[in-house]
């Protein structure tokens, strides 16, 4: 059974601190997506990681992909309140296709002053 597991599911951070969200997946997919969702809103694409070793950065967020370990990380640097949201990782299924996306359960991030 294909699984996408995120941890932690809930994360309360103080502003200025660093933290990492982990995404493990059970398929051989070499394509991984990170999305942000604000309450009651749709999904905003953050990163698309297309190959092993891919690293992408945007502002205080940096995502990486290790396809051999089937692991992606989303690193948050010097968190600010505006980053409070739920973050989802997802993989294509079947792997390598433009198929459906299998999502993790999401990590609800709360950044407190």
């Amino acid at each position: 059974e294909l699984k996408v597991e995120q941890n932690p599911l809930f994360l309360s951070m103080q502003e200025g601190k660093n933290y990492t969200i982990y995404c493990n997946y059970s398929t051989t997919s070499d394509r991984l997506y990170w999305y942000r969702q604000d309450p009651g809103k749709s999904l905003e694409s953050l990163f698309v990681l297309l190959s092993n070793g891919a690293v992408k950065q945007e502002g205080r967020l940096m995502a990486s992909l290790d396809t051999k370990a089937r692991l992606s990380t989303l690193h948050i640097t010097a968190a600010v309140h505006d980053l409070s949201a739920t973050y989802f990782c997802a993989v294509d299924f079947p792997p390598g296709s433009q198929g459906n996306l299998i999502f993790g359960k999401g990590t609800k991030l709360s950044v407190k002053p």
Binding site: S42, L43, S45, L50, Q98, N100, L101, I102, F103, K105
Partner: protein, 110 residues
């Protein structure tokens, strides 16, 4: 450049009724996928349409059906609504790789 447009934004229906949700894909995108997101959960894949045909389907009953039109827009139909069908329904369009999501339709079944 318009993104993915969904309508309506909110909808309240009674158990047993039928509902149709609509999606216009991003310009240049030819593939439309539909997802159901229950409160506090990640989106679940319903089905995907390409060239007016259902290309892939998730684990949803036949009460969920869809259609894609020649202009790539799509509809999601749900028959015999159940309370458990209450959710945010998201449409995503794509071409090659990468998905753009619409703002969703919030369906409440009472």
């Amino acid at each position: 450049d318009a993104g993915v447009t969904q309508s309506p934004t909110h909808l309240i229906k009674t158990r047993g009724q039928q509902v149709t949700l609509r999606c216009s894909p991003k310009s240049g995108h030819d593939t439309v996928s539909w997802y159901q997101q229950a409160l506090g959960q990640g989106p679940q894949f319903i089905f995907q349409y390409y060239e007016e045909e259902e290309r892939q389907r998730g684990n949803f009953p036949d009460r969920f059906s869809g259609h894609q039109f020649p202009n790539y827009s799509s509809e999601l139909n749900v028959n015999a609504l159940l309370l458990g069908d209450s959710a945010l329904y998201l449409c995503a369009s794509s071409r090659d790789y990468g998905y753009t999501f619409g703002s969703g339709t919030r369906l409440t079944v009472v």
